[in-house]
Symmetry: C3
Subunit: 660 residues, 3 copies
Amino acid sequence: MSAKRKQTLGVCYYPEHWPRERWETDARMMAEAGITHVRIGEFAWSRIEPEPGRYDWDWLDDAIEVLHGYGLGVVLGTPTATPPKWLVDSMPDMLAVGADGKVRGFGSRRHYCFSHEGYRRECARIVTELAKRYGRHPALAAWQTDNEYGCHDTVESYSKAALEGFRNWLAQKYQSPDALNRAWGNVFWSMEYRSFDEVELPNLTVTEPNPAHAMDFQRYSSDQVVAFNRIQTEIIRAHSPGVPIAHNFMGRFVAFDHFAVSRDLDIASWDSYPIGFLDRDTDDEENKLRYLGVGDPDNQALHHDLYRSCGQVRNGEIEGRWWVMEQQPGPVNWAPWNPAPFPGAVRLWAWEAFAAGAEVVSYFRWRQPPFAQEQMHEALLLPNAEPNEAYEACRQISAELARIGAVAAPERSDVALVFDYESAWAWNIQPQGRDFVYFDLVLRFYRALRQWGISIDVVPPEADAVSGRRLVIVPGLFSGTNMLVEALATGEAIVLLGPRTGSKTKDFQISEELPPGPFGRLIDLNIRRVESLPPFADVKLKDGGRFDGWREFLVPGTGTTVHRASIDGHEAHVSQGRVHYLGGRPDEETAKAIIGELLRESGITPLDLHRDIRVRDNGSLRFVFNYGPETVDVSAIANGAEVLFGEALLGPREVLALRR
Amino acid sequence: MSAKRKQTLGVCYYPEHWPRERWETDARMMAEAGITHVRIGEFAWSRIEPEPGRYDWDWLDDAIEVLHGYGLGVVLGTPTATPPKWLVDSMPDMLAVGADGKVRGFGSRRHYCFSHEGYRRECARIVTELAKRYGRHPALAAWQTDNEYGCHDTVESYSKAALEGFRNWLAQKYQSPDALNRAWGNVFWSMEYRSFDEVELPNLTVTEPNPAHAMDFQRYSSDQVVAFNRIQTEIIRAHSPGVPIAHNFMGRFVAFDHFAVSRDLDIASWDSYPIGFLDRDTDDEENKLRYLGVGDPDNQALHHDLYRSCGQVRNGEIEGRWWVMEQQPGPVNWAPWNPAPFPGAVRLWAWEAFAAGAEVVSYFRWRQPPFAQEQMHEALLLPNAEPNEAYEACRQISAELARIGAVAAPERSDVALVFDYESAWAWNIQPQGRDFVYFDLVLRFYRALRQWGISIDVVPPEADAVSGRRLVIVPGLFSGTNMLVEALATGEAIVLLGPRTGSKTKDFQISEELPPGPFGRLIDLNIRRVESLPPFADVKLKDGGRFDGWREFLVPGTGTTVHRASIDGHEAHVSQGRVHYLGGRPDEETAKAIIGELLRESGITPLDLHRDIRVRDNGSLRFVFNYGPETVDVSAIANGAEVLFGEALLGPREVLALRR
Amino acid sequence: MSAKRKQTLGVCYYPEHWPRERWETDARMMAEAGITHVRIGEFAWSRIEPEPGRYDWDWLDDAIEVLHGYGLGVVLGTPTATPPKWLVDSMPDMLAVGADGKVRGFGSRRHYCFSHEGYRRECARIVTELAKRYGRHPALAAWQTDNEYGCHDTVESYSKAALEGFRNWLAQKYQSPDALNRAWGNVFWSMEYRSFDEVELPNLTVTEPNPAHAMDFQRYSSDQVVAFNRIQTEIIRAHSPGVPIAHNFMGRFVAFDHFAVSRDLDIASWDSYPIGFLDRDTDDEENKLRYLGVGDPDNQALHHDLYRSCGQVRNGEIEGRWWVMEQQPGPVNWAPWNPAPFPGAVRLWAWEAFAAGAEVVSYFRWRQPPFAQEQMHEALLLPNAEPNEAYEACRQISAELARIGAVAAPERSDVALVFDYESAWAWNIQPQGRDFVYFDLVLRFYRALRQWGISIDVVPPEADAVSGRRLVIVPGLFSGTNMLVEALATGEAIVLLGPRTGSKTKDFQISEELPPGPFGRLIDLNIRRVESLPPFADVKLKDGGRFDGWREFLVPGTGTTVHRASIDGHEAHVSQGRVHYLGGRPDEETAKAIIGELLRESGITPLDLHRDIRVRDNGSLRFVFNYGPETVDVSAIANGAEVLFGEALLGPREVLALRR
């Protein structure tokens, strides 16, 4: 596969929602706006198979032909996120069961349990039919498996199928109940099992279950998503050779291992709704108001980098293949409040994605449906088929893409930030302080890097991923492997570890050598105590800055250097050689200061940016974004570079594209 | 029926709670305080029928005779809100099931499912027995069916009986599954049904159900309340000719269509607890403290006007027949906190009701019970039978009623404010912004009108109801009918529409012509986008004022006039001819300003009132109320009118009655 | 038993968690730190009986011998809080059912229903085996039954076993359904029962159940804890004569009657976690921050006094026998946030307990486990077996104990504060204002007494307990007995009653003579009205101070004196002779002022203490504690006394011990 793919626009389309006579017009209008990719089919099971075994392909044949007729590539979704009612009624135990013990019924979507063998067979059947029929169709640009695995908290199911599956999984993993008992520490509270059939699911216990029990159930549940997806990818590959397979992941969603699922995909993609997520990205009301109609300036970019990394897992290319499969075009319907995008925001979002190497930015959706759950979710067209604002934005973006000959070509960054799904599970299971959220911890460091103008790789905790960097940040990594430690030890990167990094073994036990466990090979210190702090308390540092919510009591060895200490007299930031350890959760100011120091130590020159300005380098291109409400003079950043579009007096939500 | 009925006091009484030897004293004391109506019997099933089929009428015969002996009219309640345990045990599936899937058991009250045919038969039986025995008793002043339909969220039941009933109801309504699928838009997410037996209740879905599904279930549930009530009213009418039938509705309760239930009643009544509702009526802490012991100055009045309108639905009289069936006499037991009424508040509440045309203001209850759930709910008498404060207030109020010869005679108001139960359901199902509450939206406009001294009719969205007015306010009306639009088009009233008015079809789809749908006939505009805003954001208007929580992006036609625009450059308030559209939720200041303009445009002279003062006109009488903590000089309002009681230097919680 | 027992340290130890080869070292290190008591065994059922009927005693024999070899006394816990999985699988209906109707499953601890006869038999069996084997072992210092009865809300179970038990209990108590109906007032809402078999548990009702129903279920549930415990104590006494029996109670836990359970014990003990409870003890953020790492200055002491009183219930000695069975040694894992103790706090806590007469202060736990639910709960040793801070504190404390020859010898205090479990249940069932919490009400008066330097007895509402005092405080006592009233009437103590004291009969009815019911014999007043107030409101008193949340409207007789009145003109604090009544919940300032006056009236000289300073007298010893962050000069308090340790310039979290 080429590392240089043209960057382009897409859209999500539901021909089954609209009269046949409209389809030609829709296709023409798509093409006119520069759209090249059209996702279809992913919720259409009841139209493809209206009764058990009776397929109705005519409409779908027709729709694909119409799109093909306008030169549009089809991204074909498998419809397994929405099994029809007749299928559910034929095996009601395919429904998932919530942690509260209640069956999660039909009437919306994602009403299935990943562990259910019967449902897996039904999915294999429908995917086989689809793949055989369309797998070699010339219009076919890509496949999408299912839709947003795990949406609405559906990764974990507490069903009978899941219980049986979990017991088998444990038997495979541990081989003997004694091994499981030892690994989990079940001697504690007499939780020992005599056989795998005695193990229950970790819900509805009197008080919290063993964290090792909860962790293995999360691993099991994640593995079922991987297995469920693989059933589909294997069928598709058999019947649709050479057509890449994608899945559309979500934002801030960590309940399964996206790197693991991505190994079976060709393209990682995600569904980007910057405004809808703002509420979860920051708890600072001033920021929420400032960015109300544009979203957190760093949250999308973090996801872009994370999913680009997912794309790399399989194909090993530098840039990975990744798309935005669903891009917000206007107000949505699902957040607590749903503001409209600020003027310019829709275009800014597209360029943030392209700048980060997205091949396709695909809007959700073509036309706002007047009915059902998403009728208040805007689209490129209004319900009455008139173009809405984002349709006009598409025209502008596709013209700009053409003008600069945009290709997906981000280079490997000097800076790697480690992201790990197991860590997210671990600290969700054992936050120890109510507001300790792994994703937010990572975002703090990501934000600090980006505030210094850095383009970042967000990578899994693997040796390959961290080697050859100049700066590696490893916050909150649940458990380290010898290979990772070795890679950090033998590389030349400046390394920042902590807080909580290396504090557990894979069995969710405290490391025998005390935290940071195997990372103690890199820096001579151990952590004997941690404390979590309520929001009204903090740990002030001697020379400014503070930790909030989390602080560790470090016992550094004699060869270490203390960079920061708390005003109550404890070491807060120490280093030995290239390796730093940070013993707390830094607030924004502190994170920025520390990252600035480490960048300089790494020989990387940070940019001095206005609070609203962000920069992304993509090959020889540099993009500058203004997330704020005021015009900012960014000519210092633009200095000497060719302006492709935009202006150095960068208006609110405006983009400046430069070639260096 | 006469349009002029004497206004009088009543009380709710439970003779079964007290020794027989006390009843005479109670009756005498009631009569002495000027009480003329006594409600009894509505929770007494276990005493009327202590065992299946064995009736014990003696005590009730006796109680009615005692009351009759003191000239008191009896309001006889049917006991169907509290079926005895033996009845529940005989058919346990009569219990309702909550949205959480749990059976709602015996041990308090309202433990029944409206859909259960067996329970309906049992109710028919006990009501028949009651009606045959007492239907023609000379003491009988009125009937009350059941008690507070829907209290404790009991309108909706997710039982097997409800599921079967709902499927039948859908089959009746839609005739074919395809028609239902089209109406609901079930092609979305493959939610299509092949038969009505595939439809489930809209609870326990993975994510939110189809709003059309939820809406139809709400309609179904409301219809069951109507049907349940009608069974009783038909029996009563057969056996008790000429005796009016009431039901006691509640405050801020919208889960069934009260207009529809009222069509089978002669008298609409409601249970007014001004203090207990304060917490829900305002989120302004300063106001909550100011009105802590008297309640929101507008909330009771809105309900009075709404239920007067319910009373009009059936009898077509101008004033309707309506009562306050339960009036708060002191602290209650059920609010999060239960403050005591401020001095004067009990009397003020009575006069607010009489001023709005109530025939009867009936206190809940006669004597505070020392036992069971409501032991902390005050009454006219203390638990030890001594008179409590409100008993003394009754004496004063009945003397004042006599002095002014009070009759129920409110005139049709020039101003109509439309209230619609389906709209309340719609925006509850699809708030789109977490704090969008239909009742509160209506209250904002009601408050603004009342702050200008207007006496208002709150009416259903029907042609008759809006015709012949000078000003009609239609906020947030889910869906319009052609007849309503026609009535507004052909009338001469100034009309204020919006926000959200006309935005949906009856099938809960977005109008094909875009919002405001059929109201587009009245004013040339459409709404292409809406946004909801969190509490920390708002939309500031150019010449002052603001929208909070909700804003629409209007595309007005060329013939329209822009009255207000936002500082970010969008039209906010436009008109064409007599018809205005407001594109957002106005804050208190803005609502007052707009309503003031519209009143003047309508040729109605607003009063300039102190913040704590409210005015109500009732025929030739005018009442002035001071809800505040300070004495206010209201002589400007009293100017020239005969003072019936009270003073122009109006003290805290005092009332001034004038004849003009 | 001697009233003078040496005071000493203990620790909780789990030999089954650690390799056999480590045990000797552990025992030696315990002894070296001055520890004399070691609790073991209480969660070890799966190790004692790994399969049904197969016992494995070897390891436990061994562990006891090792400890014995180092002179350590063993406190042997019965393992009934953690039945193994095989036992649960053999009778799954032994699991408790939550108020939400869900079975509370295996996977943590306390997964049993107190009412289940089968589980009681299994407990009797395992306790018999244990008691026979170790009951006369020379190392045996004490027994502990089960562990933390009720932890994780496990007192109440809504199982079939509980339903049957409750019906039998009601039949025993009331003898006839009519008697129950009368006592509960079931005529209300037709809740009457024809037989005990019609009674249900008070959960899952449509709205709140009858408070009398809820109260009897709480009494029933409490009785099951007593019965469950008694099964164990009777077996132990039979097989282990002369060895005292303890149970470890918890903080702020009131769901069963601890006085009643204690009647079957020799030693009351509790588990003291000062930091973990801070969040619940105060809602003042400034205080929470000030005491973040040391805990509320009065909460522990209140518990010490309460459980000392529990210890007195059975043995009738002045000082009672009581221990701290689990003392916090560092950050814990179970609070929302878990800060580290401030320097000095661990030692301060130990001395607060010893000063209050604790015989043993036992740390939880010896060594931090690397696995399972409590891996983040610190211990005396780190997971890697190195000594942690609290181990070092033990050395210092045991040296100090030895130096002063510490013995448990608190004298009977002149001041008694009444604490009653039924009152806690009553106001939990019927708070009437959302934030009315009985425990907090008692704490307000306790805090005020302690702020004046008083050492207090916290006593049950019994005649013996209040007689011979100089000041008795009775806040919020649900229901009074004639014997208690008589004791207060005939004593010479100054008495402070109210708010809510005497407001109900034992049947949860309002007293016929109105509140304060039987206490009306002591002071001529009644209460005709109460109000609860939201946090933003209050009742200001004329000469300063205020009530928050709760206020009563008093009607005092002519012989009374008014001490305080509200600015809105109501009596707030009245007295007649020695007896005072307070008609509201005083804020901290007001409580302190009132208690100061009453102390002086009682002839007790209060101490004028700095806000952070607390004092405890224990026989001839006086201890002074500084809970604050600054050094305080306490030489005025120390004046003339012999300094045993510490300094009059008392540093943060420091202790000063004096002999007078």
